[in-house]
């Protein structure tokens, strides 16, 4: 009796060639899939998020260092002022310049404007309409400056001469710090004048009467008798601007 054996009497060569091709295909596919899964958008996104988080912690550390160094510096200044009477006038001038530049913490009367996204976005509606945008903040801030505000903070970020208010994804950047709703704008100045400036500004009017009503944005304007505003904490880093000696 002939039992079929597990052997390949015929076609050894052709089978070998085909299997060789199959082998190449298999390992190529294996490689490709390994590479693909390594570079999918998801994993790349995760890598980028990690980078952002890392850089943000680094930035926070540097900011902390800056604050402590500034503190040290002001201690030295104070010490110097105590030791030498000549320097006292300079220190005074420095203090007043710091006040002008928005580097020192200040207190005083003013107004507080709170702006918050709509608590819920109806399904099927454009969500962009229901949130506070960077331009909404700019409208309010500009009106406050126009009303004679002497110092303004948004969520405790002091606005100085180089500050910007801009949109970055679904957050707003002020002084390169990410802020999220609710936004609390505090401004020191004459409360009456500030409120009047807000009420008379056309853009603020359309924001309050139009958008805020239509899209349930939560915007509140309150006078305050004693606001506390922190100074600007970042670095200013003016690289290109020089004092014009002829002026």
């Amino acid at each position: 009796m002939k039992v079929p054996k597990f052997s390949l009497p015929k076609g050894h060569l052709s089978l070998a060639i085909i299997l060789l091709i199959l082998g190449v295909l298999l390992s190529t596919s294996f490689n490709t899939h390994r590479n693909l899964s390594r570079t999918t958008t998801e994993s790349r996104k995760k890598g980028l998020i990690d980078v952002v988080n890392e850089l943000e912690t680094e930035r926070d550390d540097l900011r902390k260092r800056l604050i402590s160094l500034n503190k040290e510096l002001s201690q030295y200044e104070k010490k110097a002022a105590d030791e030498e009477g000549v320097l006292a006038s300079y220190t005074e001038e420095l203090d007043s310049l710091k006040l002008d530049a928005g580097l020192s913490a200040v207190t005083g009367p003013g107004v507080q404007v709170t702006m918050a996204d709509s608590p819920q976005i109806p399904i099927g509606k454009d969500p962009n309409n229901y949130i506070i945008h960077d331009y909404d903040l700019r409208v309010v801030v500009n009106a406050l400056w126009a009303g004679g505000a002497e110092a303004i903070t948004i969520n405790n970020q002091r606005l100085i001469s180089t500050s910007s208010i801009r949109c970055a994804g679904n957050t707003i950047l002020v002084n390169y710090i990410r802020l999220a709703s609710p936004y609390e704008i505090k401004a020191i100045g004459s409360p009456d004048r500030l409120v009047k400036a807000l009420e008379q500004n056309n853009e603020v009017k359309s924001l309050l009467k139009g958008y805020a009503k239509a899209f349930a944005l939560d915007i509140d304007i309150n006078e305050a008798s004693n606001l506390k505003l922190p100074g600007y904490k970042g670095s200013i880093g003016i690289k290109y601007a020089r004092v014009d000696e002829g002026d």
């Binding site: 009497p9 089978l15 070998a16 299997l19 199959l22 082998g23 295909l25 298999l26 390992s27 490689n31």
Partner: protein, 107 residues
């Protein structure tokens, strides 16, 4: 022994040379593998049944692979990505049938 050596050499060649495949063609690679597997098992079965023919086997392999790729291509062009599934199912069914027959010969 020779066919198994061929398979191993092929795998090593593929691993060594790392032929880059653009993501758009990964599906074609997949279907080509299925076709190659189908042909290989078909050949194994035929040789166990003593009906193996070189010419039939080699032409079958290339014809099946090319046709499978062509069907996938046509499906992509016409927006019928499901044509790919048709090829996968057809090859899959044949693969398992051949496997079953081979099993009966061996055990």
């Amino acid at each position: 022994m020779l066919p198994i050596a061929g398979l191993i050499i092929g795998i090593i060649l593929g691993l060594v040379f790392k032929i880059p495949v653009p993501p758009a063609y990964v599906r074609y690679l997949g279907i080509a593998i299925l076709a190659a597997l189908d042909s290989s098992f078909g050949g194994l079965r035929a040789s166990l049944e003593k009906t193996f023919e070189d010419r039939l086997f080699v032409t079958g392999f290339f014809f099946n692979t090319l046709m499978a790729a062509f069907i996938v291509y046509v499906g992509d062009q016409l927006g019928i990505g499901e044509l790919y599934l048709a090829a996968v199912v057809a090859f899959g069914v044949r693969l398992f049938r051949n496997l079953g027959i081979i099993r009966r010969y061996i055990f």
